[in-house]
């Protein structure tokens, strides 16, 4: 690890100015990803600008009935927030499916969005990786690629994005608020993470020195009926092979509104818009769910090691939607009993 200077700015504007003024400076959140990468030599900042104590640790309801989540809110506190648990269980469940309790106590919302791939070649300096070292190649193509992408990959990179939280936020139509050299801007989360293309070293559209200050969730009443399912190699403390986030609104037996996203399948959290389109107005049956999953996954291009992800993604999606429909039925039954 190369020597670095450490700064603790007092406010967001000072944090942005400090990073812009110093070449090789990086923001430090909880450090659970960045410190690891500095130990591994993946990144070598010459200055850390600690933003973890900035006054961005509030969760507040917005005038429009949504939620504004400060960038330094800890993952565990967001998962426990009563508004989140009540109005969008998908987000609480996704957070609680990620990492470990100790890590969630430290990890921030901003850092979670910007965590980098867990591709083993990205973490191993002795191998080729276009994400770590542009132009060096991709050892995962033709190598170990069990954990890798089946959607939206390129011949330059087949890494996946590891965040669970971001997959849930995607179905909630979240927006990322940033402060950068050009002032404040609000980016839809759907356009925040990039596909690899020929520049896989860039995970997101953020510019150097651009600070995430908040994530905003609009009001989405039907997200009360939402769920997150994560399939992994062990019951806890493991990254997703495949995950599904879903929010569903039914009208009788028909899908009125729906939001779907996959984790573990692509270089970014993957909003399943084709599946959503196929389901809007369709009967809420297993058959429609299976069809919708197939429509979305028709573009999948699996590699030697990860072909299992395609049926796994389809089955998980179907199972999550079936669970949401059954849950709705159960709630209705409960009500009837209550009314008696």
């Amino acid at each position: 690890m190369i020597p670095f200077d450490y700064r603790r700015p007092g406010n967001p504007a000072e944090a942005v100015a400090t990073v812009i003024d110093h070449e090789g400076a990086a923001f430090l959140g909880g450090g659970t990803n960045l410190v690891d990468h500095m130990k591994l030599g993946i990144t070598e900042p010459r200055m850390l600008v600690d933003v973890s104590r900035l006054p961005l640790d509030r969760v507040t309801e917005t005038a429009g009935g949504g939620l504004r989540i400060g960038a330094t809110v800890r993952n565990s506190d967001l998962a426990a927030h009563p508004w989140v648990r009540r109005n969008c269980p998908v987000l609480s469940r996704a957070l609680l499916a990620g990492a470990s309790p100790q890590l969630r106590n430290t990890a921030t919302v901003g850092g979670n969005l910007l965590q980098r791939t867990r591709c083993p070649y990205f973490q191993d300096l002795t191998t080729a990786c276009n994400k770590r070292e542009p132009g060096s190649g991709c050892a995962a193509i033709g190598g170990y690629n069990r954990d890798h992408a089946v959607l939206g990959a390129s011949e330059h990179c087949i890494a996946t994005h590891p965040s669970d939280m971001a997959v849930a936020m995607l179905v909630l139509d979240a927006a990322v608020v940033t402060l950068g050299p050009g002032g404040e801007r609000t980016l839809p989360l759907a356009g925040f993470h990039r596909l690899p293309g020929d520049a896989p070293h860039r995970d997101t559209v953020l510019e150097h020195g651009e600070l995430i200050t908040a994530v905003e969730l609009p009001q989405l009443p039907f997200a009360r009926r939402s769920a997150y399912r994560k399939v992994r190699d062990r019951a806890s403390y493991a990254f997703a092979l495949v995950s599904v986030a879903a929010a569903l609104e039914l009208e009788g037996g028909t899908v009125r509104e729906i939001r779907l996203a996959f984790g573990g399948l692509a270089h970014k959290p993957w909003r399943a818009r084709l599946a959503e389109e196929a389901l809007r107005g369709a009967p809420a049956t297993e058959e429609s769910f299976r069809h919708a999953a197939d429509v979305e996954l028709a573009a999948a291009r699996p590699r030697d090691g990860n072909a299992f992800k395609v049926p796994m993604a389809r089955n998980t999606l179907v199972s999550v939607l079936r669970g949401l429909v059954n849950g709705a039925e159960r709630v209705r039954t409960d009500r009837t009993e209550e009314d008696r």
Partner: protein, 198 residues
Amino acid sequence: MDARITLHVDGDERPLTLDTRVTLLDALRDRLSVTAPKKGCDHGQCGACTVLLDGRRTLSCLTFAVAQDGAEVVTAAGLASYDGEPHPVQRAFLENDALQCGYCTPGQICSAIGMLAEAASGHPSHATPELADAGGRDGPGGGPGAPGGPDGARRTTAPVVLDDAEIRERMSGNLCRCGAYVNILAALRDHGATGVTA
């Protein structure tokens, strides 16, 4: 680059000058000779380095000491009372044979204490039923909200019932290569049932 910081470790004020590259774990072990927290993996994957940082369980291997200037750190070595009486969680580990080689144990114990406090303040885990399931009335489409807690800033909902599934999930951030899990579970089951947190 050197930085001058002060850590409060197990009740003592410990000023020190160290390179910014030193993690909290290395500062504790190598600079302050507080060797209770262990280095299992140094990459956030095992939990052996768990300490209570300003009251919350945290991995000391993934934070730089300089970023914790002024913090209150409690390690497993600082849990006994002044007259040497072990902490109730430490006693439960002893009584239940909840260790074999002992390497993961200081991390397990700090993690367990943090875990009991989180559960008492209503923090959910992946094993906790959703509010809708728990209440049965707070389902999609309406119903009363979760009871907001007046007692304590982090209190969010009713205390969690620590059954075996909850304890396993909540302790899943601490690996044990000896496989002492069965007795760790037994030690913590006592606490879950009696609600002992301190």
